[in-house]
């Protein structure tokens, strides 16, 4: 989808230095996308939707209540790309034909742009956590243990909003696939962030974390590696298994959740926060996968390979115990009350971003599953007096997905277009004059169904 430049003067809206750097990065040929909805088997290319990025104000970080803002999605797509450029990505089929992209992705030009922006972009994307979480009072190991037990029991007792949304969806298969894609963000590069905290010398706690890392990597046996068995699950759903095939469908919440662990691991001043966060994550994973198995079996029966979920439902019970006793409480005991507030903060932040993952995924599932109602809502929506943005669609133009800060009505002005909201579900065909309400924060893409098409985006006035 290409937004015509006269509607969005890029350099003026994107803000100061950070805005200029991220526009320069996203404007690189690697990140301009292509006409395909699903990305090809090339880990270096991913669509950063530079046209929509140009509308984002990178001078105004999203606050705690603005996590669904488009600039939040844009920032986390960029951050995820920055972080992954610090890992080794090689295509399964070999580099033949991709040598140039390899050189560009890891090359000096993009590296300098990344290194010159990453800290500022992190402050932009995660600054809201500083406002959202406070830790105060005499933080003792006993307080840490009591708080941790409380939040873990709460997570085990509460239903998963995303899994509930899948179970209640009309098209449960598409909803389940959408959820799988959010897991694929981490599932296909699992433990990459964690690897950054393994180096150094910090006693038995280092060895405890390493045990978990070894498990994630299948004890060095490729077939047992968690990413390998995650791919088996995707394959059983006839879904693509290469890294970021479904890049266009990652939501802001899941992106932020994945980035959060990179963010903590990149900066060892945040090590204790990482220890709190990873302990929380490991403790809540096991019951979450038990619930996921029930929901997915209910939908797909025996046709889906849930070895990955079984593995986690089992091993994460051990990882939960190891991280609690041998990392979290051990670090608090060894290093004293000074580190406990950071451990608590990590738990609280991981709980918060995990909740964002759930809520964002649930909201996307509910919206994508109920497009007829959103067609009706478009008819009654009060659109503002601002002229609409005109979006030109051509068959060979790049496909990308985006969201908006507030509600918008998308109207087909010319030709026909397909509204794409899920990775595997059928697109919604819109003919000339038809419209649909896109709620703020919801991800969508549009592709032409006729050789040429055009859409109008009308901002909806708040009620």
């Amino acid at each position: 989808m290409t937004v015509q430049p006269q509607a969005a003067p890029a350099a003026t809206r994107a803000g100061g230095t950070l805005g200029k750097r991220v526009l320069a990065f996203a404007g690189h040929p690697l990140f301009r996308g292509d006409a395909q909805v699903v990305h090809g088997r090339n880990p270096y290319r991913r669509m950063l939707v530079p046209g929509s990025l140009a509308e984002s104000d990178f001078d105004s970080p999203p606050g705690p209540g603005e996590w669904a803002a488009h600039r939040s999605l844009a920032a986390h797509r960029l951050l995820g790309t920055f972080y992954e450029a610090e890992t080794v990505l090689l295509p399964e089929q070999g580099l033949d034909g991709l040598y140039e992209d390899f050189d560009l992705f890891y090359g000096r030009d993009l590296k300098e742009l990344r290194e010159g922006s990453v800290s500022e972009l992190e402050r932009f994307a995660f600054g809201c956590l500083d406002e959202a979480v406070d830790v105060s009072g005499a933080a003792t190991p006993e307080v840490l243990e009591a708080y941790f037990q409380h939040v873990v029991e709460e997570a085990a007792a509460g239903p998963s909003p995303a899994l509930t949304a899948i179970a209640n969806a009309r098209d449960r298969k598409s909803a389940a696939d959408l959820y799988l894609v959010q897991l694929a963000l981490d599932g296909l590069t699992e433990a990459s962030a964690m690897s950054r905290n393994l180096a150094g010398a910090y006693g038995p706690e280092q060895s405890a974390l390493f045990k978990i890392f070894i498990d994630e990597f299948g004890y060095g046996v490729y077939d047992a590696k968690h990413t390998t068995i995650f791919a088996k699950m995707l394959r059983s759903r006839a879904m693509a298994t290469h890294v970021h095939a479904y890049w266009n469908f990652y939501l802001a919440g899941p992106l932020a959740t994945n980035n959060y662990y990179y963010y903590l691991s990149r900066d060892h001043a945040k090590f204790f926060r990482y220890a709190g966060a990873v302990t929380y994550a490991e403790a809540v994973f096991a019951p979450a996968f038990v619930e996921m198995i029930k929901v997915f079996r209910g939908i797909f029966g025996d046709t889906v390979d849930l070895h990955y979920c079984d593995e986690h439902a089992h091993i994460d019970e051990h990882h939960g115990r190891i991280t609690r006793d041998q990392v979290l409480l051990a670090l608090a005991g060894r290093h004293g009350p000074r580190v406990v507030p950071e451990l608590l903060r990590g738990i609280a932040e991981a709980r918060l971003v995990g909740g964002w993952f759930e809520d964002d995924t649930a909201a996307q599932i509910r919206w994508a599953d109920d497009l007829p109602r959103h067609r009706e809502l478009a008819g009654s929506a009060r659109t503002g007096s601002e002229p609409p943005l005109r979006v030109a669609l051509t068959a060979d133009g790049p496909f990308g997905t985006r969201s908006h800060d507030g509600d918008v009505v998308l109207e087909v002005e010319r030709g026909e277009a397909d509204l794409v909201t899920t990775p595997t579900g059928p697109p919604e065909r819109l003919t000339r004059g038809e419209a649909v309400l896109i709620p703020g924060g919801r991800l969508y893409g549009v592709r032409p169904a006729t050789p040429e098409a055009a859409c109008l985006l009308h901002a909806v006035s708040p009620a």
Binding site: D134, S136, G137, A138, A348
Partner: protein
């Protein structure tokens, strides 16, 4: 043993623990749960006003000035996420409840304040 209570800060700002009262004191964007008790004679610091420099609370009972830093040092362990606050208390067996009260200590500093008694 510890006891955990959960407060919705959009509805509650005060915790009663037996006969002791604690209130949510705002410090910039941060919130801390401090004892509603002036160290002089136990006046309600929740009804104190800040001195013009914002660094002390002027107890409404005898005008004693109590440093905000000192008040914060006595706060209960609390983790706030958005409007939700999880407070960890020692298990004493006394009844605990959460309520809403007027808190003047979170208002901007009082420009009419006079230099009365200082904290001991």
């Amino acid at each position: 043993m510890a006891r955990v209570i959960v407060m919705d800060l959009s509805r509650h700002n005060t915790v009663m623990i037996g006969h002791d009262r604690y209130f949510v004191l705002h410090e910039g964007e941060r919130s801390v749960l401090v004892r509603d008790h002036c160290p002089h004679r136990g006046g309600p610091l929740s009804l104190a006003r800040r001195t013009p420099d914002g660094r002390r609370l002027s107890c409404p009972w005898h005008g004693t000035k109590v440093g905000v830093s000192a008040v914060k040092r006595s706060c209960l362990p609390m983790v706030r996420s958005g409007d939700e606050a999880v407070v960890v208390l020692p298990e004493t067996g006394v009844p605990v409840s959460v309520i809403h009260k007027e808190i003047l200590a979170n208002l901007p500093p009082d420009p009419t304040h006079d230099e009365g008694a200082e904290s001991r």
